[in-house]
């Protein structure tokens, strides 16, 4: 069995990659994917921690987190769609009518 520490490390790396991606990419879809990456890191972490503690709750948390992520994707894509309809772009940098 893999030491949960390694998994946590992986989760951390995933999270950082996700975060980095979220703040460096312009494409909304890619950003959404990066957010998913962050959530995946969370899942991994939960699972690893559940293993570490031998606690069933962790797995439940992970399942719930997956569900949340799924809902988020659905909603996100819908919103992006409407953005695309209006702005005809999915580049986050070009959508800045509202500011100041």
């Amino acid at each position: 069995m893999i030491d949960p520490a390694w998994v946590s490390g992986l989760a951390a790396i995933l999270f950082i990659i996700g975060l980095w991606g979220a703040l460096s990419r312009k494409n909304a879809i890619v950003v959404l994917m990066c957010i998913e990456l962050m959530l995946n890191a969370v899942n991994l972490q939960f699972v690893a921690a559940a293993t570490h503690w031998g606690d069933v709750n962790g797995w439940v948390y992970a399942v719930f987190a997956i569900a949340i992520a799924a809902a988020e994707v659905a909603i996100g894509l819908a919103i992006f769609l409407s953005m695309y309809n209006q702005h005809e772009t999915i580049s986050l940098d070009e959508v800045n009518l509202l500011k100041n």
């Binding site: 949960p4 946590s8 989760a11 999270f15 996700g18 975060l19 979220a22 703040l23 909304a28 950003v31 959404l32 957010i35 962050m38 959530l39 890191a41 969370v42 972490q45 939960f46 690893a48 921690a49 559940a50 570490h52 503690w53 606690d55 709750n57 962790g58 948390y61 719930f64 987190a65 949340i68 809902a71 988020e72 909603i75 996100g76 819908a78 919103i79 992006f80 409407s82 953005m83 309809n85 209006q86 702005h87 986050l92 959508v95 800045n96 009518l97 509202l98 500011k99 100041n100």
Partner: protein, 576 residues
């Protein structure tokens, strides 16, 4: 914790899905029922279901040509309003005698929910906010939905009416979950439910550029923030092996590095919800793009939801016990929150100073208010970490002040958004000039708006003054502690959080400037071209504004009951 155990220590425990469980959460159940009804009722029609292979048609009622009565565009709103009203009524009956029976809902070893004064208080707060918002949208479809001018009838035929109320209800349910949750993850799930609903609500004007844009921004930043928060939770789980509040509270140690990292990440997650600087950036954009009642809900209920999280994490989990053994090294978040509070309130106020979009201005002012509440939380921290000799009542009073502030915010901040909502009904409220001459066009609404502004600024005897007053009084009381025993005090004896009170006061002095400007514009300026006529009627939104107005005044004049309620709510948290 086993039910038997918790019964032993005097709590009323009940296992999930047991009979008692259904009674205990009956108010929330009403909402769920309402939600289901909202799915079904507008869709009732004359469709028939043909039993396969037969010609027998059984009336199926879902779909087809909608019935005139149930298909009326006014129905979803009324249904949602009635649902929330009923829920509120049930909760009110629950607490009418002043004390909430504490019921703990467990699932196996873990405590899921706890129905106590604290959670009931917040539930009422959320429901009032959502109720007002749904009332305000009753006889109007959110503005900018139609680009072209359409008749009211067409607007009412808009099927999205139902969507709006469904989302409002899910938001309410999510928020109630947050209030009830005794497990950080459950709390987060509720938070996500509410968040996801609000993302859609913000982006509800998908037909307009600003609607879509604000939705996107709010969604992306919100998701990142909640992702960070969730990661923090997972780290916390990794470190302590549980996300149960009571267990975490016992396990929490300020010396654990992973714990501190987790705390920081969780703070970011909730910080976004309360729109604390620098996590507030999406808020002004979101408020500006969303329709006003929804923005009002974001600024009040959503903020309160974030505040629940902060209170749970900061006050319940990470506050050291009274033994003081952990006192010095665990004063970990005191400076962080204090710094954050000063930055937040100053940022909010300064930014609002020059803002010419009333909605953005209200958004920034909401940021500032978040700062005030964070300052209050710092005082709670100082109570434990500042070697202040004061009983627990002091800290409870501060938390009560925060609760009071959150509650009355619903009255005047949401009220202000509702007034803007009225303006949106005749086309846009994104410029200051939209408000010009409002007092002349409609003295009642103008006066109401002015009173909301004064309340936001903290002018007595309005509710806004009372709330600020209580918060500051809380901070000062902590910084003073019980030094009076000596009869003689040196100024240096006071804890440094006293300066937070000063910062708050200076900030509210700055804030008067922009609140007052609204008043000046309303009372002095000449209405814009094309906005000379009185405002459209809209009985229910007027009613909502009136409720807000009366509450703003009454909660200022006669705040005793509410303070009491807040105090009891604060007391019911786990102190020691």
């Amino acid at each position: 914790m086993k039910p038997e155990e918790c019964n032993e220590i005097g709590m009323n425990c009940t296992e999930a899905f047991s009979t008692e469980f259904w009674t205990a959460i009956s108010p929330e159940l009403v909402m769920v029922i309402g939600l289901v009804a909202l799915f079904i009722i507008p869709n009732l029609g004359n469709s028939k279901f043909r039993i396969p292979l037969t010609k027998l048609k059984i009336p199926w009622f879902l779909g087809g040509k909608r019935f005139a009565i149930t298909g009326s565009p006014a129905i979803p709103g009324m249904l949602a309003t009635a649902t929330i009203f009923a829920t509120l009524g049930m909760m009110a009956i629950d607490i009418i005698d002043g004390s909430v029976k504490t019921t703990t809902i467990t699932s196996g070893d873990s405590i899921l929910f706890k129905i106590d004064a604290f959670s009931r208080f917040f539930e009422i707060l959320f429901l009032v906010a959502v109720l007002l918002a749904s009332m305000a949208t009753l006889d109007r479809i959110p503005a900018h939905t139609f680009k072209g001018k359409k008749s009211m009838d067409e607007m009412y035929d808009n099927r999205r009416q139902a969507d709006l109320y469904i989302l409002l209800l899910t938001t309410a349910i999510g928020m109630c979950l947050v209030a009830l949750a005794q497990d950080l993850f459950v709390l987060f799930v509720g938070l996500e439910l509410a968040s996801l609903s609000t993302y859609i609500l913000v982006a509800f004007h998908k037909e307009s550029k600003s609607g879509a844009e604000s939705g996107v921004k709010y969604f992306i930043v919100g998701s990142v923030a909640s992702g960070i928060g969730l990661y923090g939770l997972s780290l916390m789980y990794l470190e302590f092996g549980t996300l149960q509040l009571s267990a975490l509270r016992d396990a929490w140690s300020g010396t654990s590095t992973l714990g501190i990292i987790a705390l920081g990440l969780v703070l970011v997650g909730f910080g976004f919800k309360v729109s604390a600087a620098p996590f507030h950036f999406a808020a002004p954009d979101a408020y500006a793009g969303a329709n006003s009642p929804v923005a009002g809900v974001l600024a009040t209920a959503s903020k309160a939801m974030g505040m629940i999280g902060l209170i749970r994490v900061l006050v319940v989990i990470t506050l050291p016990d009274s033994s003081g053994t952990l006192s010095e090294e665990s004063a970990i978040w005191l400076y962080a929150i204090a710094t954050l509070s000063v930055i937040t309130m100053t940022w909010g106020n300064i930014a609002a100073l020059g803002s010419t979009n009333p909605k953005r201005m209200l958004a920034y002012s909401s940021v500032a208010h978040a700062g005030y509440m964070l300052a209050a939380l710092s005082a709670v921290g100082a109570w434990r970490w500042g070697e202040i000799d004061a009983p627990v009542d002091y800290a409870q009073a501060i938390v009560a002040a925060v609760l009071f502030h959150l509650f009355v915010l619903v009255a005047f901040k949401l009220g202000a958004f509702l007034v803007l909502g009225m303006l949106e009904m005749e086309g846009g409220a994104s410029r200051l000039s939209a408000l010009s001459g409002l007092a002349r066009r409609d003295p009642l609404i103008g006066t109401a708006m002015f009173i909301f502004m004064l309340a936001l600024a903290g002018v007595p005897p309005l509710a806004g003054f009372m709330s600020k007053f209580l918060v500051i009084a809380g901070i000062v009381s902590t910084s003073v502690g019980t030094v009076w025993v000596d009869g003689s005090v040196s100024f240096s004896d006071l804890h440094w959080v006293w300066w937070l009170a000063l910062a708050m006061f200076l900030n509210s002095a700055i804030s008067v400037f922009y609140y007052l400007r609204i008043g000046v514009v309303m009372f002095l300026d000449i209405p814009e071209e094309g906005r000379r006529k009185p405002l459209p009627y809209g009985a229910s939104i007027r009613m909502a504004i009136w409720i807000c107005l009366v509450a703003t005044v009454i909660l200022g004049l006669s705040s005793d009951t509410l303070i009491d309620m807040c105090y009891r709510a604060a007391e019911s948290l786990d102190w020691d």
